[in-house]
């Protein structure tokens, strides 16, 4: 089997398991809310709030089981989650790029924003991003980051009227 297809089938197994769990929870929740409303006499069987979510979750569950079986039949497995395989995957920088990009965005939003001034947070994020990927020379990185952060905050606060969050620290 083509390596690209094999990777997709491996991923299908993981995602379908997550979706089977998620849709099972949604089915339970739909039934629970419908039961609650129906027995309180606030809705009929066909107007209960969980009716359509129940049908949709059932379809997702069925579809996920189909994807899971198809992936298993096509030779997919979960060996790619073994420590050895993970080490091999992340040893190439290219495979690691999306994780770095996402990681930097998580740091920007979950750690910087709200704790330090928005301009500083944005400046740090852009600089870190460009330094990590060696975008250009240091001095240019600092210049672009500083000018862009100031410009974007100025534009949004003056033109759009955005109230940026007050920093916790500085």
């Amino acid at each position: 089997m083509d390596e690209k297809v094999k990777k997709i089938r491996d991923g299908d197994i993981l995602i379908s398991i997550l979706m089977i769990l998620g849709s099972s929870w949604a089915i339970y929740e739909s039934l629970r809310m419908s039961y609650e409303v129906y027995f309180k006499g606030r809705a009929t069987l066909y107007t209960v709030p969980g009716l359509f979510p129940f049908i949709v979750s059932l379809c997702i569950l069925g579809g996920s089981i189909w994807v899971f079986i198809n992936a298993i039949r096509s030779g997919g497995d979960l060996k790619f989650l073994s420590p050895c395989a993970l080490k091999k995957t992340f040893s190439s920088f290219k495979a690691f790029i999306p994780t770095i990009v996402m990681g930097l965005m998580w740091i920007y939003v979950f750690i910087f924003v709200g704790r330090i001034h928005f301009i500083i947070a944005t400046f740090l994020f852009i600089s870190l991003f460009m330094i990590t990927f060696k975008a250009t020379q240091w001095i240019r990185i600092l210049l672009i980051s500083a000018l862009y952060s100031a410009a974007i905050v100025y534009f949004f606060s003056k033109v759009v009227g955005t109230q940026f969050p007050k920093p916790l620290f500085f």
């Binding site: 709030p49 979510p53 997702i60």
Partner: protein
């Protein structure tokens, strides 16, 4: 009467502010479209946040400008570097790049521009003609028709956007539906799936979801997929385009009509329109073997079709409340956020908006020609900006644009969470298009499903006992059955028998 209203809207548009605004957004749109990895959907999704505090007309002029510009802009990268700027420009690569390699990049760019202009213009004409007609039909729709129409949209985009396994597209669409159920429901105001988080009581906010699923994964892919490319030079033009247009006039009309028709099918959009038009052009050509080696109609066909699909996609969005393409799904989200509910009632509640939309498409078409000429050379410089510099700048706009809508840090946290989920889903073939469309159409499905059953005292046949609802139900069923192996086998068997009988 309606024509006079359109004419008035066209004249009213002509203020210095509107023209500058359209020119500016068209430029941004062309740049967004030209940069491989960025798309019309991302451009419109970003603008939703940025323009939230602007008045509706200003915001819509900008969004339409970016939409039309981005669809056209995709052709630049296709022709000059053989990487499609947007999904709708994939077919333009087939003959655009070979033409550029022959030293005819300028010819290919001019052909793409003229084709886009003609396509957009045909889209505008069809918008003017068909919008009132469809509104008249749609006014007789009941909740059952709306329910099936929304389901049809979710399933058709699912089938088309997941070439690996259509079921993945359908699952994405269904997940989108589930996400739309979060918060207080329409009929009994019951708080569903909100995990006790107060911010989710009013539902998942639109902007973090749309920017998260369309924008954030693209940033990661933008950096990862950067390739070394050779940029073709733009030399002098060698063709007489008046003659080229005359020569292919019938073809152009055919490609444009196809574009509008495909664009108007709920959720299908420009990408498919361009590919189908390319296929039709090749089939109709007297020299089909030359396609792929650099023929001018190979550039014109997809460009006519993808731009005419813009007008086509806006028609069902405004008349039925069912978007014709992923960018129009985002556009519809932006409208709903502003209190404008697309659908047949729009013609009664806010008729001026329909005429204004026509005017924005028309002037966007004219501006495409003007800005297209001005920007065709500087765009080569834009294409040289390394993605490693552009990506963090776009990421910041995603975050700040989302934050500016509600000034809630919760929204940008949601953005990153959706972005991460979107990236993982996209990596394994679950596209974001059906998910976002499912999210947009979700309220239409749930409320109309229960309303139909309620009015019929629980009789499920009420969902299919009217001619239009039955026809849409049949279309959905056939589409689903088409992918089931037993049905496929029966279909293949019948088709082969028919072929054999024809031969005999």
């Amino acid at each position: 009467m309606e024509l006079i209203a359109y004419f008035k809207a066209l004249i009213d548009f002509l203020t210095f502010y509107n023209i500058i605004l359209m020119a500016f957004s068209m430029t941004i749109g062309i740049i967004v479209g030209a940069l491989p990895g960025l798309s019309a959907v991302l451009g419109i999704a970003l603008l939703t946040g940025i323009t939230y505090s602007f008045d509706t007309a200003t915001a819509m002029i900008m969004m339409i400008g970016v939409y039309i510009g981005a669809i056209y802009g995709g052709s630049f990268a296709s022709i000059l570097i053989n990487i499609p700027g947007t999904g709708s420009a994939v077919a333009t690569c087939f003959d655009g790049y070979p033409l550029a390699k022959q030293g005819k990049a300028t010819d290919a760019i001019i052909a793409a521009r003229l084709a886009s202009f003609i396509g957009s213009f045909v889209g505008f004409i069809c918008y003017v003609i068909f919008t009132p007609l469809i509104i008249r039909i749609a006014l007789s729709f009941t909740s059952a028709e709306y329910f099936w129409l929304a389901i049809f949209g979710v399933f058709i985009i699912g089938a088309l956007s997941s070439p690996d396994l259509p079921i993945k597209g359908w699952i994405s669409g269904l997940i989108g539906l589930m996400l739309s159920f979060v918060g207080l429901e329409d009929i009994g105001a019951y708080n569903r799936f909100s995990f006790g988080i107060p911010q989710l009581t009013s539902g998942i906010p639109w902007v973090p979801l749309m920017v998260g699923f369309f924008g954030v994964p693209q940033i990661a892919k933008f950096i990862r997929d950067t390739k070394e490319f050779e940029m073709m030079k733009q030399l002098k033009k060698t063709m007489n385009f008046l003659r080229v247009i005359k020569q292919h006039l019938i073809g152009i009309i055919k490609w444009a009509s196809l574009g509008v028709a495909i664009g108007a099918i709920p959720a299908v959009g420009e990408n498919i329109a361009a590919l189908v038009a390319y296929g039709v052009a090749k089939k109709d050509s007297r020299r089909p073997e030359k396609f792929g080696t650099g023929v001018i109609e190979g550039v014109m066909a997809p460009e006519v079709a993808n731009n005419s699909a813009v007008g086509g996609a806006i028609i069902p969005m405004l008349t039925l409340g069912v978007p014709g393409s992923p960018p129009t799904a985002v556009l519809m989200g932006a409208l709903i956020m502003r209190g404008i509910r697309p659908g047949p009632m729009l013609a009664i509640e806010n008729p001026a908006f329909i005429y204004n939309m026509g005017a924005w498409i028309f002037w966007g078409t004219i501006m495409l020609l003007v800005i297209g000429i001005l920007i065709s050379r500087p765009i080569s410089q834009v294409l040289k900006i390394p993605p490693k510099i552009l990506a963090p700048l776009i990421a910041v706009i995603c975050v700040v644009g989302t934050f500016s809508v509600s000034s809630e840090i919760f929204d940008i946290k949601l953005l990153i969470i959706f972005g991460t989920i979107g990236y993982i889903m996209d990596k394994y073939g679950f596209s974001a298009g059906p998910l976002v469309l499912g999210f947009v159409l979700g309220p239409l499905t749930d409320a109309n499903f229960r309303r139909t059953l309620d009015l019929a005292h629980g009789n499920p046949l009420a969902l299919i006992n009217r001619p239009i609802s039955f026809l849409i139900f049949l279309a959905v069923s056939l589409m689903l059955l088409n992918y089931f192996p037993p049905f496929k086998r029966v279909k293949d068997c019948i088709l082969s028998k028919v072929k054999r009988i024809r031969k005999e």
